[in-house]
Subunit: 161 residues, 2 copies
């Protein structure tokens, strides 16, 4: 069998998997693919590479899990919707571009390499003149529009995880 | 009174604070300082700027909080100690340099912009030939050496938060 892709999380290939690893039948993405091996093997996540795999705005994609939290990548442009997450803080880490997070008592401005945690219960509305690439970290199951709902509510998407 | 630093999280200065904000008497750091206002005001965290404020290795510094999780910056160089966190996953996000996370079944290699989650219960040992700057995310109170203890166990440090 020709050499296959390497499992990024361990010294393991899909053609000659480590004990307990099961090559995934589909969804392999470059060098960051992993075998399936339950909870024991995670994936190296290249943030820029994950962001290159989609183009839509305001549609966060889960790329990793940390206990009962999810790490998501998202592209945004324009103004979102004012909303609140009553039960959780929400972390924004800007990877590229300039993001404003409007709060009712002023705006927070974030450049690449800067992060901000919106406290639970604080109404906010992200807005970006140009396209922004960002990381979001929040508990599993948080809906992007919080209490507001509406057309910008994104479907849960962990296809990149 | 001369104009003072601006509270980064809201339209608020230390000389003319918003209602409920209390100017901090010390520890102001450039433009990312904030007033104290309970849970309502968080700080814009510039990751590179936070990393410029210390030089020691293997001594994570809390820079932000997300519910009951902490976001820490750390500089590492050389080999750490093999250890396990039995009760939690641990997220590594490399900001600069090349980090290897040794696992018992192989190494994970991370460059800038790449992240990896070490699953709970998985023994690991970070190692870096050159200096690496990284972000760690884990629940509040996690000790860097996990079950191993020893000389590299870092004191809890949230002086940059």
């Amino acid at each position: 069998m020709a050499p296959g892709p390497i499992c990024a999380a361990a010294q393991c290939s899909f053609d000659d998997p480590e004990p307990g690893h099961v090559p995934r039948p589909s969804g392999l993405v470059g060098a960051v693919a992993t075998c399936e091996a339950g909870d024991m093997v995670n994936e190296v996540v290249d943030i820029t590479e994950k962001l290159s795999l989609f183009s839509e705005h305001w549609s966060p994609k889960v790329v990793a899990r940390l206990n009962d939290y999810e790490i998501k990548v998202v592209k945004v442009k324009g103004e979102f919707v004012w909303h609140t997450h009553d039960d959780t803080d929400e972390l924004f880490l800007v990877v590229a571009g300039e993001l404003s997070i409007q709060l009712r008592d002023g705006d927070v401005r974030l450049s690449a390499g800067q992060l901000f945690v919106v406290p639970r219960g604080v109404e906010h509305c992200p807005v970006a003149d140009g396209e922004v690439h960002a990381l979001l970290i929040e508990p599993t199951g948080v809906v992007n529009t919080g209490d507001a709902g509406g057309a910008l509510t994104a479907a849960y998407d962990d296809s990149l995880a």
